[in-house]
Symmetry: C2
Subunit: 247 residues, 2 copies
């Protein structure tokens, strides 16, 4: 089991083999066993296989080819729609149109999503998370007809792997784990933590190809820029407001 | 593997057996294999075992007994502190003090957290998620000395199970899964989806014990009230601001 988790790779290319619907339902049922707040199950998953709807989703994901190529696209959503409608139908006044409720449902959504991914990998499927979901939530809301109190949090493309890429590197554990309380990093800590990554031929070439001086500059100037992050911050906050989560 | 995931239960009572440090590091290393945005690994985990620091954390979690009783308390944090400091040290201007970056790191944090939980369960440990983390983030920030750009997202108590409770129920899959696009629920759908839950002796007793007319009212009037949700919404938004994620 640890072996399976330790062997995780993001799979971006899939064979043409479709995913059996019964298997997919079994994996989704397993995903729902994940822990969730108060057992409210305030999340939803939109399963998209139709080429026309995938086509509508594609621009929201900056036309990354996995959307069209994967047999199944899963959009995992924070969702207080069903729960709130149930409350209204049972003489109860729902109070879930606020940021704290959004955080609770977003957390539950992600625990279910990751459980789905691990379940899928255990039966030989490959997955890819698309971080574009929170960039272009509004376009996804339109394409998938998401009602109020439903906001897409992450998208997973799923299929049988057409290749098995190398695993990506990870920082040493001291980059992530703190003992008892948080110990902030000294310049020497930072040099040590990033040394292996920065000295690898792979990243040296990556920096050169991007015409930058340091690996960090590839992130700040090209991949995840301040300007884009701020633009998409406003856009996602607007999506929360429009969907009714910022009362 | 699916069996393990399908057998998940939240464990709130632990034996006195400590968790071997080597095993814990192995599980945390596995957690770091989870997918993450741009391989930035922008998250952190504070491992707390010291009774004094657990004592300081306890009120933030409304003194739920698991905090003191579990051998290990893990606070999983959205964290752009290390990455931003690395950027600054490498002549790169970080732009991660905004809401979109917070969402990206919160997502990555939760994928790592759930991977940890599944890894832990696979070696016989039991876990409990504490949703109080986003209620009282500020108190946790103080207790764990979290710097700017670090915000606790979820807390997991871990230990060897002292009992094995019954599994909790789940709604039928149609409550969660939508095909192609979202299909909103009719009153008849809602009656059907909640029928089994509402008709169970367990929940009938639960409603009676809480002196309510409907199960939904137990949620809206007692467990997750509008008033509390709104109070803790403002408080968590303030925590994001103070920690520097709302530029």
């Amino acid at each position: 089991m640890l072996d399976l988790l330790n062997q995780h790779r993001t799979i971006r290319k899939y064979t043409e083999q479709p995913i059996d619907n019964e298997l997919l339902n079994k994996l989704l049922t397993t995903a729902c066993r994940a822990s969730n707040t108060g057992n409210m199950q305030a999340y939803s998953v939109v399963v998209t296989t139709d080429p026309d709807i995938k086509q509508q989703l594609a621009p929201a994901h900056f036309n990354q080819p996995m959307i069209k190529q994967a047999p199944v696209v899963l959009t995992f959503c924070a969702d207080y729609n069903l729960f709130s409608k149930w409350c209204e139908q049972r003489q109860a006044e729902p109070g879930y149109d606020n940021f704290q409720s959004f955080m609770a449902t977003a957390i539950d959504t992600l625990l279910a999503a990751q459980t789905f991914c691990i379940a899928a990998e255990s039966v030989g499927l490959g997955i890819c998370y698309l971080g574009t979901t929170t960039y272009n939530a509004q376009e996804i809301i339109a394409a998938l007809k998401l009602p109020k109190l439903v906001v897409p949090i992450t998208t997973i493309t799923v299929g049988y792997p057409a290749d098995m890429p190398e695993q990506t590197d990870r920082l040493p554990l001291e980059a992530v784990v703190h003992r008892e309380t948080y110990t902030d990093f000294t310049p020497a800590d930072i040099n040590r933590i990033y040394a292996e990554k920065e000295n690898s031929d792979f990243y040296k070439q990556f920096v050169a190809e991007n015409n930058k001086e340091t690996l960090a500059q590839v992130f700040t100037d090209i991949r995840y820029t301040k300007k884009n992050n701020e633009f998409f911050s406003d856009k996602f906050m607007d999506a929360l407001k429009i969907q009714g989560f910022l009362k």
